[in-house]
Each structure stands twice: as C-alpha cells, then as structure tokens.
C-alpha cells in the first residue's frame, strides 16, 4: 500500500533521475573492479608465468605485484570518485525530492 507521499515520489522526475544515475554509476564501477580482480585470478590459473615476468625490460618487479597495487589504487580512486558524486550529485537530488514532497 503506497501512501500519497510515496506515490508522489515515484513519479518525481528528480527521484527517477537519482535512481537511474546512481544505479548506472554503482554497477559500472563495481563491474569494472570485479573484472580486474577476475583477470588477476584467471591469469594466476592459466598464465602464472606472465604474472611473474618483470614489466620493464631488465626490471625486477614482476607484473603480478604491479597489477596488485594497481587494483588497490583503482579501488581507492573509485571510492573517491563515488563519494564526490554522492556529495555533489546524489545528495542534492535527494534533498530536492524530499523538499518537493514536503511542500
């Protein structure tokens, strides 16, 4: 059973935009990170020697370590981007929806 306020929110343009944008952002960020992790996991099953090979000619640090730290850095960057978006895009939309209903 939806009350009047809920019905109003469901058809509210800002609410629909909030849901749409946030859904797209969260899932694409998540799928991106999981793909990186899966790639690392599959490489360690099928091509372990590639992960052990140094990246730079004559260098000593193997690809696996570079990849590991790169995925950590990617996770952190995505966190910062998401929080920025949440503060500057999602939260203002949330406030607009609530104000529109309160009025």
């Amino acid at each position: 059973m939806l009350n009047q306020a809920d019905k109003q929110i469901l058809i509210n343009e800002d609410f629909r935009k909030l849901v749409r944008v946030r859904r797209r952002i969260s899932w694409s960020f998540l799928i991106f990170l999981l793909t990186l992790y899966l790639a690392f996991g599959m490489m360690s099953v099928f091509t372990p020697e590639v992960l052990a090979r140094p990246v730079i000619e004559g260098g000593m640090v193997p690809l696996g370590i570079w990849m590991g730290y790169a995925i950590l850095a990617a996770t952190f960057t995505i966190t910062l981007v998401y929080v920025w978006l949440a503060n500057h895009v999602f939260s203002p939309l949330e406030r607009k929806v609530i104000e529109a209903v309160d009025r």
Binding site: Y37, A52, F76, V83
Partner: protein, 517 residues
C-alpha cells in the same frame, strides 16, 4: 617473557577498562548498547570498521601467507580491499537508511518478520561463533608464545576482558577500543614497512631481488599457483572476500552507529583508505620477513623451522626492525587486535540473540526495552563463557578451518539474502527462507566433506568434496533456491510483500520520508 610487551599490554588493558567504565555510564538505552546512540562520526567509524577487518588473521595470517607462498597472497591482499567497494557501492547507505541495529532489520523490512529474523539471526550466529572461536584459539596460541602464559590462562584472560568490554561498555566502548587498536596497528605496520624499506635503501626492486635470493624456493615465489591452482578454488576465494565481507554481522552493525546515510558513506570511504593502505603494507612486510627472518638463526628452532610457525613471521620481523622494545609494542598490538575483534563479534552475536530472536521473534517486538538490554547483557555473559570453554577444548585445532567456515557462510547466507531483499521486488519470505537455509546447509555440508575437515580432522584418505572453499557452490545454492521459491510463490503474503517494495525502495534511496496522510 618480554617485559616491554607485558608493560605495554597492561597499559592497553588499563586504558580500555577505563573507557569501558566511562562508556558504561553513558550506556542506558538499547540504542546506546547496540549502536553507540548513533553518535559516532564518519572518520572514527571508518577507523573502527577498518579495525574490525584488520584482525590478527589479516596482520599475522596474510603476512605469513606472503612469507610462505609469495605471489599467491596477492589474491588475499586485493580481495580484502575489494570487498569494501561492494559495501560502498551497493550496501552501506541503504543499510543505514533501512535498518536500526542489525542487518536483520533490513531483511525484515517487508518480509514476514519472525521466520526471516530467525533465519538471519541464525546466519549471524553461524558466522560470529566460528569466527570468534578462530580468533580465540589463535589468541591463546599467540599469547602462549609472546608472554609464556599457559594456553588455558590466555583464553580465559581474553574471554573475561571481552565479556567485560561488551557487557558494560556496549557498542560505545567496543568502538573506542577498536579505534585505538586500529591506530596502533596502522602505526605499527607503517613502522615495520618503513624499516624494511629503509634497510633496502627504499628500492622496491632491491626488496624483490633480496626476497627471491633468501626464499628457499627462489624465483618460484613470484609465480602464483603454489597453493591455489584451480579455477574453482580461486573463484570461491574471490567470492568469499568480495561478498563475504559484506555479510559479516559485526561489520554491518557498525553502519548503525553513525547518524545517517551520509556518514555511513563517509565511514566506508575512510575504511577503504585505511584498509587499502594497510593491505599494501602487508605485502612489503611479508617480503621483508622473507628477507630478514627466513635464514636468521635467532628465529629458527634446532630443526630449522620458524619458532611459533609462519604466523609469527611479522612478530619476528619487528624484532629485527626495532629490537626488544618494538617487539614488545607489536606483541601488545597483536593482542589488542584480537581483543578488539572478539569484542565486536561478541556484541553482534549478542544482538542477534537479544534484538532479533528474543525481542522480535519471542516477544513480537512488544517487550519493554530494559528487559531487552538485560537479555543482551546476559547473552554476552553466556557467549563469553561458552566460547572460553569451546576455545579450551579446541586447543591446537586448525584456525583457518573456522575462519573459512565463517566467511563462506557470510557470503552464502547473509549477503545474498540482504542483497535480494534490497534490490529484488519479487523476493518473498518463502524465497528468503529457502535460499538462506539452502546456502547455510550447502556451506556446512561441503566444509564437512572437504579436505580440511574430512581428511585433516576426521582422518579419511580422500575428501568426498575436492575443494577447500565451498563459497561458489553454497552461494549458487542460495541464489537458485531464493529465485525459484520466490517466483513460484503465489500466496497472498507474497503479493503484499511485492507491493511493499516500492515504499522500501524509496526509503533505501533517500532515507526516512516524513509520513503524510
């Protein structure tokens, strides 16, 4: 016996007991006890969340994994951080918007309260109790080595302290203890990693070269596939980290200690920063241990194996870095870590019993609040006594088995049920129950039949189920049962639940809405 370690340990215990006394004066209501009165800020909660995750298993266990297997440990280092991205992107804000004290509140938002709460409380206990035992058995062994106390005495010491913290200080004391410990652990880890790098004249390549030179397996440690060789195992480990973390009841409970969804989001962001930083230190610490501990006669037994096993590699390394004083500091930090994590776990187990089972199932949510608070304190005492007894019986048992069961159950019971109830409108009570119990049963049965229990514990020759980690199969079982028993559910109740979804969806997106007629 290390005098420095003992002095620092007593200092820590003194300070934390002081905090407990202070917190007990501020813990009057249920909200104070379970959620620290929603008074914790984003940054502190982030530290506490990071503290919950940076357990002795991470600090000592993952270092030991780098120390003995090299590159294979990278799977743990990445997975341990990535699980938090799932929490940030899918769960954190919605959890705060929909729940009150435990994640069962969220599952019970539109589903039939009693059976669903019972199921998620059972899930919480099935995660918290083995995890708690894993930490306590590990703690007993660790303290035995560090302080020379007998195993039983060490377990009782940990048990009594954690019971005191939780019973009297509730979530407020638990959060502060966790915060202090997180700062200590981050400091300790930074100093060890800095020490390692400075002895390598700050060249990461030199560290890698030295590790390859010192390790008995040489260049092979940079090739993954020492212990994790097949695809199923790697996928199961990945799933357990990525989705199991978002199903740990003591971690989820922390999202209710902040005032709103904004602070919940900030908490995870800080937590990801701290955890990612710590995980990247762990790999350096592990490589450092290979370089400075492997062939150091000071740390080897007469037979040539490491004193206290590979779990002690980080502790030995601290002695190389900073002598006896720093060894004392790291030992005390390791102990503080265990104490803080078991306190959080105990609180989440107590909340599952008193808030979910007692107050909402047995008393239909009609009980008076003082009784619920009393019940949660009694539960804490019972859990404290039971786990002490069990931990003493389980002396010498493989700690990894218990921790593995816990994370697998978190990923196969709690997470899918919570996730589906948040995101899938046609998820019904029948689906939740079928899925949740199917996930729980599959995880438990497969662990029993797998190599760790069937072969190592029961002593059979061949495991019935060939894989160590059941997560892939148990999670699938949950999802299949949840899906099938939800879509075929044509009852009146199921229709009503689907209708309630929109109103739940609105609240999960924008938080509580003022009720209007």
């Amino acid at each position: 016996m290390n005098i420095n370690a003992i002095v620092m340990f007593f200092l820590f215990v003194g300070v934390t007991l002081g905090i407990t006394v202070w917190a007990s004066k501020r813990t009057r209501t249920r909200s104070d006890f379970y959620a620290a009165g929603n008074s914790i800020g984003g940054m502190q909660n982030g530290l506490a969340i990071a503290g919950d995750f940076m357990s002795a298993a991470t600090f000592l266990g993952v270092t030991a994994l780098v120390y003995s297997t090299g590159m294979d440990a990278m799977l743990f280092v990445i997975g341990g951080t990535l699980g938090w991205a799932v929490i940030l992107l899918l769960v954190a804000e919605r959890l705060r918007n929909l729940g009150q004290y435990t994640f069962s509140d969220v599952v019970a938002f539109r589903l039939d309260r009693k059976p669903v709460r019972t199921m998620s409380a059972v899930g919480s206990l099935a995660v918290a109790i083995p995890y708690l035992l894993a930490q306590m058995v590990g703690a007993g062994a660790l303290i035995q080595i560090l302080f020379g106390l007998p195993y039983g005495v060490a377990v009782v010491l940990v048990g009594v302290l954690m019971t005191l913290y939780v019973m009297f200080g509730g979530m407020l004391a638990t959060t502060w203890i966790q915060t202090i410990k997180a700062v200590l652990l981050l400091t300790g880890g930074t100093i060890i990693a800095f020490g390692v790098m400075s002895m390598m004249s700050f060249s990461f390549s030199d560290l890698v070269v030295a590790a390859v030179a010192e390790h008995p397996q040489g260049a092979a440690i940079m090739v993954p596939g020492v212990i994790f060789t097949d695809m199923i195992t790697i996928i199961s480990i990945g799933l357990a980290f990525v989705f199991g973390t978002a199903g740990l009841p003591h971690v989820l409970m922390r999202f209710f200690t902040v005032p709103d969804a904004l602070q919940a989001r900030r908490s995870v962001a800080y937590a990801i920063g701290f955890i990612g930083y710590f995980q990247s230190l762990i790999f350096i610490i592990g490589l450092g241990a290979i370089v400075f501990v492997t062939n150091n006669p000071e740390f080897l037994t007469v037979e040539g194996s490491l004193i206290g096993g590979s779990n002690m590699s980080a502790v030995h390394l601290s002695k190389v870095i900073g002598g006896d004083l720093f060894l004392g500091f790291i030992s005390a930090v390791a102990f503080a870590t265990i104490l803080a994590v078991v306190s959080g776990l105990t609180l989440s187990a107590a909340a599952a019993v008193s808030h979910d089972i007692y107050a909402n199932v047995l008393r239909h949510g009609q009980n008076d609040r003082d009784t619920e608070l009393k019940i949660s304190r009694i539960t804490t005492l019972v859990i404290g006594l039971t786990t002490m007894a069990l931990a003493i019986l389980l002396e010498g048992e493989n700690v990894a088995v218990l921790a593995l069961i816990a994370l697998a159950i978190a990923a196969s019971v709690n997470f899918p049920v919570m996730f589906l109830s948040m995101y899938w409108s046609r998820f019904t009570t029948r689906g939740a129950l079928a899925g949740g119990y199917a996930g729980l049963a599959t995880a438990l049965i497969l662990v029993m039949l797998g190599p760790t229990v069937w072969v190592t514990v029961f002593g059979f020759d061949e495991p019935v189920f060939p894989y160590n980690y059941p997560t892939l199969f148990a999670m699938l079982a949950n999802l299949v049962f949840s899906f099938w028993f939800s879509v075929t559910d044509k009852s009146q109740r199921a229709l009503a639940e689907a209708e309630l979804f929109d109103s739940q969806w609105i609240r999960s997106e924008i938080g509580p809405v003022k009720e209007q007629s």
